[in-house]
Amino acid sequence: MASWQPDPSFYPSPRMAAKAPAEKLAYVAAFDPDRAKPDAIAVVDVDPASPTYSEIVGQVDMPNTGDELHHFGWNACSSCLCPNAPHPHMERRYLVVPGLRSSRLHIIDTKPDPRNPQIVKVIEPEEVAEKAGYTRLHTIHCGPEGIYVNALGNAEGKAPGGIFLLDPESFEVLGQWEMDRGPQKLAYDFWWHLGHDTMITSEWGTPDTFEEGLVPEVLLGSKYGRRLHFWDLHKRKHLQEIDFGEEHQLVFELRPAHDPTKAYGFVGCVISLKDLSASIWTWYREGDKWAVKKVIEIPAEPADADVLPPLLQGFKAVPPLVTDIDLSMDDRFLYVSCWGTGDMIQYDVSDPFEPKETGRVRIGGIVSRATHPGARNGALNGGPQMVEISRDGQRVYFTNSLYGPIDPQFYPEGIDGWMVKLDVGENGGIAFDEKFFVDWPKGHRPHQVRLEGGDCSSDSYCYP
């Protein structure tokens, strides 16, 4: 699968990637919460000039049921151009799609017909557990040593969760990534600063504490994840742990600055046990250590107990539940999904320590049930969740489901899936594209969105 010239979707720097042509297709993970029919990767037409704009134009079903497709990624990306480990003649062609519940890995070829992707390889959970020692596969990143996959549980479904490597050409499971994991036990997300040889990982919990939904005792006991871990990316060694403290629970999505010379990034914390607020933290370099600072706090909104799900009735408030964030390619705008209140907020983070709100829309939400101009039936449920930004920063896509067993804890009547798109103003500001509302077919709920050719959470860069 090598070629004479680098894949045209590889860019040396985020500045150049931001000039990439607009995407025409989006790939969206969709799962059946009842585990009765196979999950799928849906192909959504995002080309405004196309007659099928905002429609699902293709779909590839998984061979089994109950995978719970969640996050996924590409086999190769712009990091292939890095000078220390160059592999520039790979193709960005295959989607690597894990089942979070099943621990099964699917390799999906998007090349012959991007609208009709095909499964070309399935790696069964037993093989992953045997060769890598992990289960509950979560996030995928293409990077210097191949494809990195993280997992929330070990082979027995307990702690520690961690990362393993996949060969980017043969898709063989190569084995555990960590050589010295130090005190790290829980896993959730991971990404890196290629310019600073640093891997960062975050924490959720062990599978037994989330596979049947969030466990209130674990949450209120501050036993879910609340730490960041910093690693030497090349020695594969744990370097430092930062504990956000007992108050903070569920430290999730990691968004390092795309500019490889910058040594800071953003992470969302889903909930504070003190006041149900959510927060965004900036990690940064302080002397020869890493440090964190809370830079955004989003308060909970008071609400009548009778409009709240049982889990929240005692609190008489809707937590914002920041479950995903995403950073634009120029490191200027941070998008924050508030899955509880229904807000999608845009912050100008040019100064990573002084974010300024520059835009906000509301859709769905536990209490607000805000609608969309393209929705036919009014009140929407679910809220802004997995968010993805086009490389040029002009379009933002998001879906509304979080995770099968957790969805009904906050949206007891279940979630009717949708996917929407925002248009971004030149200097910030966001507004719904009224023509883009994907009323997701019943039986599936949409989760992560990946854009054709790469997006703002798929690629990392070695040149500024």
Partner: protein, 205 residues
């Protein structure tokens, strides 16, 4: 062509390959916003490359002192073709030990590993071996005859490699920019694999 010109030509071929160092030098310069680091990094890149070549050369010639010449050619030729196959099949699978925060020592180590992993020294064997043979009194390998010749060979190769590495690195850093990689980075791995096989065949046939 004169073997010395061949050595210089192979030096230029190695130097022009981004995987042999000029690109790393450019990246370090861009990261640290320093023209000085672009120039400075060329030293460990060239030294790491030269040491790798010298080690391979010493190993081959040491075998040559005890083994029959034909046997040596067959061993070296087979090794080259095997290396080409390995490079084509598993070249993408290396541990990455050196990153963007590396110092000059790390860069030298990186250059040594890259040159060794790519079989850069082996590629020179078909050129250096006849040179050393012709230096002996009865066209045989001798330690005394081979040492100065092979040192000179490493020197010529390194000088050419360094000149090309420096020229490309400075041009890209100062004028061209890394954007050109998107289209201009042709697949030198193909040529490289072909060169390894070619060198192996020269030895065997």
């Amino acid at each position: 062509m004169s073997p010395w010109l061949m050595l210089a030509g192979l030096g230029a071929f190695h130097g022009i390959n981004p995987a042999m160092g000029w690109l790393f030098s450019v990246a370090l310069g861009l990261h640290r916003k320093s023209r000085r680091i672009v120039w400075l990094s060329l030293v460990p890149i060239a030294l790491g490359h030269a040491v790798s070549i010298a080690v391979v050369m010493a190993a081959v010639l040491t075998i040559g002192l005890v083994a029959d010449q034909r046997l040596l050619e067959l061993i070296a030729g087979a090794l080259l073709i095997g290396w080409a196959a390995y490079h084509a099949l598993y070249g993408h699978r290396h541990r990455v030990r050196v990153g963007m925060q590396t110092g000059l020592v790390g860069l030298g180590l990186w250059s040594f590993l890259m040159a060794t992993g790519h079989g850069a020294g082996l590629m020179l064997v078909p050129v250096v071996l006849p040179l050393c043979l012709s230096s002996g009194p009865a066209a045989e390998l001798t330690a005394a005859g081979s040492l100065p010749i092979s040192l000179a060979a490493v020197g010529v190769h390194m000088a050419a490699m360094l000149a090309v590495t420096a020229t490309v690195a400075i041009s890209v850093y100062e004028w061209i920019g890394v954007g050109f990689l998107r289209r201009g980075w042709i697949n030198l791995d193909y040529l490289w694999t072909a060169a390894l096989v070619g060198a192996g065949l020269i030895l065997i046939v």
